[in-house]
């Protein structure tokens, strides 16, 4: 399958500066909110302040009478029209899912849910009038705490009769991929080691920088929607499916999109509302959310309790792992919501050879903002759990945490390796990545410094954290998705148009929002077709230009979309060959294509691909029966996931008198296969690292007792600043993927997946002399300080919002038992 050796590699591997940058650094951007259309009306949302309430009356008379208000719409007004927002991944056939209206009709299920919409001539007038909408609520008890909700003490949706949405299990004995985990645990209890831990994955907010915005223009034959979305193609399909307008009459455009991180992998109430209102009014409409609305009502991520049981022999060889998850879905089962923890199901065994494994996940409905994909989606949670456990096992045995990992990991000569989950890891070399990372980090020196500080009882202690992660990315083989009951496939589409002037237009179905597709795709096509980098134009993100695609998420664009590109380019070459042969008066069998030129074997005769394109356009002299076109397209369905891995090492300094954590050094060596553009890769790694570090140290969505999000602005939701972070030392080892022809693996989520446990392991490592085994995330100074004061027995703090008084910030998601241990 691999043809890597024959391919000229002038562009792939080069640190090309991005084509995208010019418009972004000069302000000539096309954000959705920039769009102004003639006669455009503006929407403002009236949102519920209550987590759970019955709507007894909505009085819109004062709002309707306000200046320049066109209309005010309530849920009752669109009850028949709006249908329910889609859930594309019902993880079990009997999954319980409440109907999810775009505008609540008679009950609200989370604080921030839309109850009415004001349409006015300006955004300011719409917002002013929204204040005048008078909604009467009858407050209902709210299901807020995840553990309590799992016991159905208070029902998030009383009509469902339970908060339990779905129970999903993978068992290696049942699947025939491994042994029985209960047997392994029983054996370890008698003559081995059992490590039992419970970890909290706090609720996070994706917090993309561009607030979501949507414009809908119903004029003409089509309804056109511009949206700050990661998924224009999926959105178009679902607008049609839910709202009944034929798909062929809908065009969705994702113009410049300011970050997503999974947060814009959603079909939102606001998009559906804007579509319905534009269709009703026959006028273009715009809605742009405020940051507070974004933090409150755009979906959240993570939010799990993880109960973990690791069985090992006395020498530290792991014999089994059992995982019991509670996952908070929030108020509704959103687009991929229930599937997020399932994406982690196959990753708890990570890089290790575990003979027995069981994964149990209960998804739970609560009266909070719904959760869905956030960078890594399921895999960061899995990686955190296992990398924390491996440190605990090492601590139990009193050995170096890297040694215990090496003892259990898959050796490089064992690839391809089929895991206890039945996945086939195609390639990897954990020894090489770890050796390189250790050297860059100065591992032995830092361990020596740690010992000196411990011996000297230095108030500033050093902690060293390790994470040897892998992930499955490149979502995804359609057959696998089908077997998991996901509603769509995982293929990607590309087409290539050969213009008569020798320029090349590339259309990709994966829609970028900061990843640099225009640059990387140009590099791939330039090499493949032997044309100049500058001559390639990449088009994406508009369903009229790019009619087919499954969009961007799950580190899929390059490994799936890039492969579609390669296949389309190869088709162009195949179509050009008979034409070139005809023009060169040679047999097609004698034509060879190299570096952009069709040559005749054994001669110096040849034609550049651009010349063939021009001749094909003119069509004056083509072989009989050959169509006058070189344009080609390809739809590629991946044969496997890709499995990047890496070794991340982190050193933190902890002031034991204040609990303050300071990042000292962070080294990572990621093996992501072949690299198309090292500059873009570095950017993905840096940004990913900071998002993962932020989970470990700063970020948490905190609700009060009433279910109101108190971290609903950037004052309180602590997205890190430049002053909070450090520069990183990043490097790579290379084990090319064997399942795609470019040999690439995903990188978009790697940093986020790997870094969180590396940092928490470092914090806990620094505090081991005090008997501390866990500090709950985010590891705030308060939590760290209390962990030191309390020693190993004390609970770490539940809430992490130092701006508020304790009574205002009781973290209802923390559970009755308080902290992890």
């Amino acid at each position: 399958m691999t043809v890597t050796e024959e391919r000229p590699t002038a562009e792939v591997g080069k640190a090309r500066r991005r084509k995208e940058d010019q418009r972004l650094i000069t302000g000539r951007t096309k954000w959705t909110d920039n769009i102004q259309l003639t006669g455009m009306l503006h929407l403002a949302m009236v949102r519920s302040p209550f987590a759970h309430a019955r709507i007894t009356n909505v009085d819109v008379s004062a709002a309707k009478a306000a200046p320049n208000v066109v209309t005010v719409i309530t849920g009752a007004d669109v009850a028949e029209e709006q249908g329910g927002l889609p859930n594309a991944w019902p993880i079990t056939p009997d999954q319980k899912a409440p109907v999810h209206p775009s505008i609540a009709v008679d009950r609200v299920a989370f604080a921030g849910e839309v109850v009415a919409v004001v349409v006015a001539r300006t955004a300011a007038e719409a917002r002013d009038a929204a204040e005048l909408v008078d909604v009467d609520y009858e407050e209902l008890p709210a299901a807020l705490d995840l553990k309590e909700s799992a016991e159905d003490r208070v029902l998030a949706h009383p009509d469902l009769g339970t908060n339990k949405s779905a129970f999903w299990q993978f068992d290696s004995a049942n699947a025939g991929t491994g042994g029985n985990v209960e047997d392994a645990i029983a054996k370890a209890r008698t003559d081995g080691i059992v490590i039992e831990r419970e970890y909290r994955q706090q609720r996070l907010i994706p917090a993309f920088m561009e607030p979501r915005s949507v414009v809908v223009d119903p004029t003409g034959e089509q309804i056109t929607m511009w949206s700050a979305t990661q998924i224009p193609h999926i959105l178009r399909f679902l607008l049609a499916a839910v709202l009944g307008t034929p798909e062929s009459k809908i065009r969705v455009i994702a113009p410049d999109v300011g970050g997503g991180f999974g947060g814009k992998l959603q079909t939102t109430p606001e998009e559906f509302i804007a579509f319905m209102l534009a269709r009703r009014l026959g006028k273009p409409v715009k809605y742009t959310e405020t940051r507070s609305e974004s933090l409150m009502s755009a979906h959240h991520g993570r939010d799990q309790w993880q109960k973990l049981t690791l069985a090992a022999t006395k020498d530290g060889t792991v014999t089994g792992l059992k995982v019991d998850l509670l996952a908070d879905l929030g108020a509704y089962v959103s687009l991929v919501g229930g599937g997020v923890p399932v994406l982690g199901a196959f990753m708890f065994n990570a890089i290790y050879k575990f003979p027995a494994y069981q994964f149990n996940c209960q998804t739970v409905l609560t009266n909070k903002t719904w959760t869905d994909a956030y960078r890594g989606a399921g895999r960061p949670e899995a990686t955190f759990a296992i990398e924390r456990l491996m440190d605990e096992l090492a601590d139990h045995l009193g050995v170096d945490p890297l040694a215990i990992r090496e003892q259990n990991w898959i050796k490089h000569e064992e690839f391809p390796f089929t895991t206890v989950c039945g996945l086939e890891y195609d390639s990897g070399n954990y020894e090489a990545a770890t050796a390189k990372a250790k050297e860059m980090f100065g591992y032995d020196d830092l361990r020596a410094e740690q010992k000196r500080r411990r011996d000297a009882k230095d108030p500033v202690q050093l902690g060293i954290g390790i994470s040897t992660f892998t992930e499955m990315c490149g979502l995804a083989p359609s057959r696998v998705l089908g077997s998991l009951d996901y509603g769509a496939g995982g293929w990607e589409h590309a087409s290539i148009r050969m213009l008569p002037t020798g320029k090349v237009e590339v259309v990709t179905g994966s829609s970028a929002h900061g990843q640099g597709h225009e640059t990387a795709w140009s590099q791939i096509v330039a090499d493949r077709l032997g044309v100049a980098f500058e001559d390639v134009e990449v088009l994406h993100g508009d369903t009229q230009v790019s009619p087919k695609g499954l969009d961007t998420y799950g580190s899929r664009s390059l490994v799936v979309g890039g492969e579609a590109l390669v296949k389309a380019a190869d088709k162009v070459i195949e179509k050009a060959k008979p034409i070139a042969a005809h023009l060169l008066e040679a047999s097609a069998d004698d034509i060879e294509f190299k570096d952009g030129r069709f040559g005749v074997k054994g001669t110096d005769k040849g034609l550049a691909i651009g010349e063939v394109a021009l001749a094909t356009f003119a069509a004056h002299n083509l072989p009989d029966g050959v169509e006058p076109s070189l344009d080609s397209d390809a739809t590629y369905d991946p044969v496997n996931f890709s499995f990047p891995h890496g070794t991340h090492l982190c050193a933190v300094e902890i002031d034991t008198e204040t609990g303050g954590v300071k990042m000292r050094k962070y080294v990572c060596v990621d093996d992501i296969g072949n690299i198309v553009n090292p500059l873009i890769v570095a950017g993905q790694v840096h940004g990913g690292l900071v998002q993962g570090i932020a989970q470990a140290l700063w970020e948490e969505a905190v609700h009060d007792d009433g279910g109101t999000l108190v971290s609903a602005s950037f004052v309180d939701y602590l997205v890190p600043t430049a002053a909070d972070t450090i520069s990183f030392d990043i490097e790579h080892t290379t084990s090319p993927s064997t399942t795609n022809s470019l040999g690439t693996k995903g990188v978009g989520e790697a940093g986020t997946i790997a870094s969180t446990p590396a940092v928490v392991n470092a914090v806990v490592d620094a505090l081991r002399p005090w008997g501390v085994h866990d500090v709950r995330m985010p590891c705030t100074p308060e939590r760290v300080w209390k962990a030191i004061q309390g020693g190993g027995s004390a609970a770490t703090e539940g809430a992490a919002a130092p701006h508020f008084d304790a009574q205002d910030t009781a973290d209802r998601s923390a559970g009755a038992e308080g902290a992890g241990q």
Partner: protein, 155 residues
């Protein structure tokens, strides 16, 4: 209220509501959509512009306060098709991904370099504390500012 303001070298006379923010005036009245809104609490800095040569968050300034003053936005930086050295450094160092924070980040970086032409890494990080970026992890932004400093960037 009537205001007269110079933006990116051009003079404008307008009648605005007293409550109108400078960022809304720039975006909605003048079409200066290079300057963007990222939050409601003046935390993110995406809307940073220069007012008489000093960086301000334009969500924190009323349009009427700009009356009689000179505003420079990201759109006024490049002259005759030549990028400002800080713009060029952001491109060269891959200091942007989605690009939404970039206008504010560049405007703040220029201000920082005007105050301190040769900042240390720590000084760059402290100087950019009021501007949030979610994509880059700041690593390459810091590098870009130091690169620009090395080439004598400040305007």
């Amino acid at each position: 209220m009537k205001i007269n303001v110079t933006v990116d070298g051009a003079s404008y006379a307008d009648d605005v509501e007293p409550r109108m923010l400078l960022v809304h005036y720039l975006r909605e009245r003048l079409g200066k959509t290079g300057t963007v809104v990222g939050c409601d609490t003046s935390n993110c800095g995406a809307c940073t512009v220069h007012l008489d040569g000093q960086s301000v968050k334009s969500c924190n300034v009323l349009a009427v306060q700009a009356d009689g003053h000179d505003v420079t936005t990201i759109e006024g930086l490049a002259k005759d098709g030549q990028l400002h050295p800080v713009q060029a450094a952001f491109h060269e160092c891959h200091a942007l991904q989605c690009g939404f924070c970039t206008p504010g980040m560049i405007m703040q970086s220029i201000d920082l370099l005007n105050d301190n032409p040769h900042p240390s890494e720590a000084e760059v990080r402290a100087g950019l504390e009021g501007n949030l970026c979610r994509c880059t992890g700041y690593h390459n932004i810091v590098k870009a500012v130091q690169t620009a400093a090395g080439t004598g960037a400040p305007a």
